[in-house]
């Protein structure tokens, strides 16, 4: 029974840690399937988290905070789009630049506006997302096995968490069952063919970049409005890069993204819980190894030792209509 309890607790924190990863990885899925590489997920999330924290504090409204997060993130996405689609510049360079600009300006602006060392003031209950209690969660708590599972694991998360998990099938549906999705994937594989069919490659890629901005915005808002009560300096702490790793680990597919993010989230939750714990047979596992594991796994996958991750063919290549 105790083992089961531990399992539920671990699973619960896995879900919490995975939420922003899922949103950010899905965000990356939209742009990268359209042929625009994006290593600026980290920066967009951070900018969104800051916007959410500041606006939610000023307006005392969590929805205004969410809206601000999405706006800022979309704006940053458009900068990335302008550089990499219209100006045909280096997509890597643009992503790195966005990460830097956001990392610096969130601290400078936060300090100038709130004077709390780069933090935004702590949010009251109105300024944050509460948790949703599923129906009968309390009544079913005592039921053996099913009770903890339902009330402990499925119930009691932030609405954004449910949204994140819902976005997995929704993204799948958009990408694989709509005309927009088909064209979006086509533009990432063979933009020339899409152009020949009379569809604007540029506009399609811009729409993909905007989709990415929206999802990154929600991911950022989750960090400062749901997981924490406000923004703290550098609060994404590499989550954008882990999401990028998850996206590659998932071979650019929505369903796999869910499992990759849950796996990386689980590693994180596990590392926090079992820090300094001596396991039978292996003994103490250094916490640093657990932290590095998502990256190591991604490298091994990329090397083709566990399956092969094949990126979209036209990924990273700006489209030139005529030569």
């Amino acid at each position: 029974m105790e083992f089961f309890q531990v399992f539920i607790e671990l699973a619960q924190s896995t879900v919490r840690v995975s939420t922003p990863l899922i949103l950010a990885a899905l965000a990356g899925l939209f742009t990268e399937r359209a042929g625009v590489f994006d290593i600026g997920l980290e920066g967009k999330m951070l900018g969104a988290a800051f916007a959410a924290g500041s606006v939610a504090y000023i307006t005392q409204s969590v929805y205004m905070g969410l809206l601000a997060a999405v706006l800022v993130s979309v704006l940053l996405s458009l900068v990335h789009g302008y550089a990499s689609i219209t100006q045909r510049g280096s997509q890597i360079g643009s992503g790195v630049a966005i990460n830097f600009v956001v990392a610096g300006s969130t601290v400078i602006l936060g300090e100038a506006w709130f004077r709390q060392g780069g933090r935004t003031p702590a949010l009251s209950a109105d300024g944050r997302f509460g948790t949703i209690k599923l129906p009968f969660a309390d009544a079913l708590r005592e039921v053996p096995f099913l009770g903890p599972f339902y009330s402990g694991l499925l119930s009691g998360h932030s609405p954004l968490t449910y949204l994140a998990f819902l976005m997995v099938p929704v993204s799948w549906w958009i990408l694989y069952r709509t005309r927009f999705g088909l064209r979006l994937r086509a533009v990432g594989e063979n933009p020339g063919a899409v152009d020949t069919a009379g569809i604007s490659v540029i506009w399609l890629r811009y729409r993909a970049v905007i989709c990415c901005g929206i999802l990154c915005g929600v991911a950022g808002a989750y960090l400062s409005l749901a997981a924490n009560a406000g923004f703290t300096k550098g609060m994404t702490a590499g989550k954008g890069y882990i999401a990028l790793a998850a996206l590659i680990f998932a071979k650019w597919r929505p369903k796999n993204i869910l499992f990759a993010c849950l796996l990386f989230g689980f590693l994180d939750a596990f590392a926090i819980r079992y820090q300094g714990y001596a396991f039978p047979l292996i003994g103490k596992v250094p916490v640093q190894l657990m932290q590095a594991l998502p990256y190591i796994l991604t490298v091994i996958l990329l090397a083709g030792f566990i399956g092969k991750a094949i990126p979209p063919k036209a990924g990273g290549v700006p489209y030139v209509k005529e030569r």
Binding site: G89, A97, I98, F100, A103, I108, A112, I248, Y295, V299
Partner: protein
Amino acid sequence: MSVPHAKLPAWAEYGLIPLVNLAVAFLISGLVVLIVGESPLEAAYHMINGAFGRGEYIGFTLYYTTPFIFTGLAGAVAFHCGLFNIGGEGQAYVGGIGVALACLAFDRTLPWYLVFPIAIAGAAFFGALWALIPGWLQARRGSHIVITTIMFNFIAASLMNYLLNKVFKPLGSMSLETRTFDTGGQLPKLDWLMSIFGLSVGSAPFNISFLLALLAAFGVWVLIWRTKLGYEMRTMGHSPAAARYAGIKESRIIIITMMISGGLAGMMALNPIMGEQFRMQLDFVQGAGFVGIAVALMGRSHPAGIIPAALLFGMLYQGGAEISFEMPSISRDMIVIIQGLVILFAGALEHMFRPAITRIVLGLSPKARDVAATKGA
């Protein structure tokens, strides 16, 4: 591929365009200063004065410039081969192991001028090693160098955290650093160089690794433009298909390029470890690996451009420290913004102003127009 724009004379190509891009980056940074409610002109004054106002300030500026030359060269060597090495940060970090091992082993028995070459070799070795794996993966397994080098930055951070915790930390110490090196592990300051110009270096840790950086810059110039290997690297960078057709071994060149790039990044570790702190600390790289990308982009991957670009960032770091001292609402994070904007405008949006500049330049000088007519689009 056709040339999208008419060819510009060299002074416009290598002087005017980077300057305009830089000016825009600084203008936008000035806007941020305005938003914060401070005067951009005052900030600019403090920056220039803080970077060059006294001999000691110049010493600090050059101290900060040194690692950026190394990491800028590291980025440039990879660029020439068409590789985007974002792993400079991790390679520099791991390169620190080589420096620390050399110093810890010999600082009590050998003089610095014997420890220095061992430390250089160690830094280059470990840096190259950390770049070898992504290079090998790119060359042999086709995994994207950008992604693997990002991953290796994080793996390096975890690895170094572990090593400092479990291996390098002296017994009973709480802080994550090695013991302080004896005189054998301490590089001499370049006060004699400063005194030639009648300046005093003061407390600035401006040290001999600066000269090594200049030497490395010359070495990179020779490598890229005066050797067969450099020619093969540039061919690969321009057209992998042409390189393959010419019988150049693609994977060999990729791996060698990445090792040289990583070795250069690793040598950056000499400056903070042997030149200032005399011990290896947690996070001693301080983002120099990423600045290297900006430096390489700004310097157009040429050593003659990289040295002034590195100096610019050295000025930003030293002057930025001075600004944050004089104007508390502008912390050193301002540098991070400027750095990002420089990468954006000098890198990703490099061609944004080119059509306008081309029109103006070619309109102004009939001679340039003739050149464009013969060479151009």
